[in-house]
């Protein structure tokens, strides 16, 4: 490392010298020693090089000399070829990588600027005369209660007016669960015994996860019933107040995950095992599809569906919305719990 010439005279260095109690003279002596050592080494290596030079015999003839020159030339050329070959690996990729990063930043910046510019052209948010304040919203607001029987207008929209979209959406959840199962589920053998991979993953799980944590268990004992009850409340009141199947199901799922963390898979497995999971995810979805299929069919063919709307505001009202909320809630809760177990140890 090259130091500044006036390094020893800097303020910082003077302070250090003062703290360490070294004088400038001592340092200069040390430097002198080092310089002498270096000179000795240089001398030695010079002598060695001279000896090596003398050891090489004088080339006998001009031909010999030419041959040697050619060899050296060839060596140089091959070294250059090597360098040329390795260039893409050593430098090319680096340059390309930098260019790539630069281009991606530029591209992102362009997209961001364009989108921001677009937003500035859009109608002002929440303004009365906006295009999306049209006859669609008007009818949802004015007649929603009478037509769906749900005091919660959002529930009426997603589970009655646009129920087909929600039917698709709940199957999105299902297919996501199936894909995670394909990716992570560890299988039992044909006669129902766990395979080696499954057994080792269970052992790992036992190693890394806390067992019988008293504080956690006490907290879970208090919290889990409350959480699950609250989830059930959110689901059952989905047509009356904000909430519904998706949010209530997520709350129940969180409660189940807390329970399994505190008490382990053995206890949780009594309620949530692979068999029960299959029933709890398949039956609600089938009921959903069947119920909505019936309602679509009667609606499209202008038949009376015969499903009573009830008195708005009562718990048993709003036709199919309450049972559908329960179905969605079950599916969401099971899917959340299933995701957790799959990621933790490859299945329930």
């Amino acid at each position: 490392m090259k130091l500044r010439n006036d390094y020893e005279k800097t303020l910082w260095r003077r302070l250090v010298r003062f703290v360490d109690g070294i004088t400038l003279q001592e340092i200069e002596e040390h430097a002198e020693e080092l310089r002498e050592e270096l000179a000795e080494q240089q001398e030695e290596s010079d002598q060695k090089a001279e000896a090596a030079f003398e050891a090489v015999p004088e080339p006998e003839s001009r031909e010999e000399r030419r041959r040697q020159a050619e060899e050296a030339h060839a060596k140089e050329a091959s070294a250059m070829l090597e360098k040329y070959k390795n260039w893409p690996k050593e430098h090319g990729i680096k340059i390309f990588g930098r260019l790539y990063a630069l281009m991606s930043v530029v591209l992102c910046a362009i997209i961001i600027i364009t989108l921001l510019a677009t937003v500035s052209y859009l109608p002002e948010f929440g303004h009365e005369t906006n295009p999306n304040n049209n006859e669609v919203v008007e009818r949802y607001n004015a007649d929603g209660l009478a037509e769906t029987g749900a005091t919660n207008a959002v529930a009426g929209m997603i589970l009655d007016y646009r129920a087909f979209d929600t039917l698709g959406e709940s199957h999105v959840l299902f297919i996501a669960a199936v894909c995670v199962m394909i990716l992570l589920r560890l299988e039992y053998t044909k006669d129902g015994k766990p395979t080696d991979v499954l057994r080792s993953s269970e052992e790992n799980d036992r190693l890394y996860e806390p067992k019988n944590d008293k504080i956690l268990q006490l907290a879970a004992k208090v919290l889990v019933p409350v959480i699950i009850l609250f989830g059930i409340y959110v689901i059952l009141n989905g047509h009356l107040s904000p909430g519904g199947g998706f949010s209530g199901g997520a709350i129940i799922g969180a409660g189940l995950i807390l329970y399994v963390n505190a008490f382990g898979f053995e206890k949780a497995g009594k309620i949530m095992n692979r068999k029960n999971y299959a029933v709890l995810s398949v039956v609600p979805l089938l009921f959903y599809a069947a119920a909505k299929g019936y309602s679509f069919f009667t609606g499209a063919n202008h038949l009376e569906s015969g499903i009573p709307k009830g008195t708005p505001g009562h718990i048993l009202s709003a036709g199919l919305i309450l049972p559908l909320n329960i179905c969605v809630g079950l599916v969401v809760a099971c899917t959340m719990y299933n995701f957790y177990t799959l990621f933790r140890k490859g299945g329930m």
Binding site: T118, A163, V172, S295, N301
Partner: protein, 496 residues
Amino acid sequence: MDFIRNFPFFCIVLALSSGVISSVLSQKAAKALTFCLVLLALFTSAGVLVYTLRFGEFTYMMGHFPAPWGNEIRAGVLEAVMALFFSLIMLLSLLGGEKYLKLDIEEPKQNLYFVLIDLLMSSLLALVYTNDLFTAYVFVEINTIAAGGLIMIRSNGHSMLAATKYMIMSLLGSGLLLIGLTLQYDLTGHLLMSNIQDSLKTLAEHGEYTMPLTVIIGLISVGIAIKSALFPFHAWLADAYGFSTASSAAILSSLVSKAYIFLLIKIMYRVIGTEVFWNSKITNVFFVLGVAGMLFGSFSAIREHDMRRMIAFSSVAQIGYIYMGLGFGTTLGVTAAVFHIFSHAATKSMLFVACRGLSEVSGNKKDFSDLKGAGYRNPVAGVAFTVGAFSMVGVPLFAGFISKLYLTSAALENFDWKMVIAVIVLAISTILNALYFIRAVISIYTPRNEHYRDANFHPGITFCAGIVCFIVMNFMLGLASDPLIRAIEIGLRMFS
């Protein structure tokens, strides 16, 4: 007769439910259920086609509330033809690749494959029949996840990597599409296609919101282009098609990407309106990228030593043909593009299935050197591969010839810069196609690799049945294309 109006809805809901049921069935029962479902979709779509040809298009109210408030699906001739064709290809791809599912997929997960197929089928039908942009987006989601699962289910390193690539690119496409739809909702306040078109027309007349409108068209087009692997966005394609199981590759290449293109055509005609869309210059982008894809897809295919990946890269070129057809910005161009959707889907799925048959008799390898002589060891697959290759090159009698014919005549309709480029690049691309496909055919009929010969080998009944149907379909498209072309023309007229 009016009962037929219920058929599209029945098919979609039954497909969703049979997917759910399949998840708890055994592999055999799930397979039987799926085949029944696809057959049902086939026959009901045929019924819908006959109905729409006789009585014209109809909309179907999903529920007790009419369209802008509730959901709605719509069926016209083009939708019915698409649904019919999609179910047919799905059936044949499953039939041809059925044998290999057992080899490629772990046994306890085989029933989940059929869950994916059922839900994919429902999403394809819903994308074809939908009359509502948000419904389309919901089923795009199902379609994306199902397609990712179809790649991933083979569970080896290559397919995992391929599925990851696919998910990243495809979700980017979904995201752009969703942003486009959201912006569009902000301007029009509608999600129903016909209502959007009305409001967009008034906006265009008053000259309002031209800048956001251009951005919306761009976002939707780029999103769909990424999902259907248009040229610069095709990085995920080769691995996804090359390393998944044979049925998956066939379904992905011929159905999934085509459903998105069909959605784009639907948006072009029924949401934004052809005039606005064609005036927006995005067609020029489609044209340029399509032409570039035709060339670069072929170059990549020529460099490839792996036959499956070669076929995959040829898909890039063929998608380029379709986008070039859309890029002409004329009805004739769109007609040619739609016909090319059919001919490419029919041919490419056959090629993937046949290629799997050939690699089965070559020690399950797919390099050219290993596949030498495979045409003799598995004659059915060899013939199918040859037919597919000829069709891809565009030899007369085969499906590919007709689509190239229509693309060329669409190019010659207007005399401008597009015509010159299109005709020249079509010629070059045909030569390039021939270069690699004829090489592949020659290589499978070079008598080598006798050590792979197995005296007891039998290709299997389902494989043969699927392949024979594929070949017949290819000749049908090549020899009797007029009814189909007329149906496409009627369908497009119903669209606008």
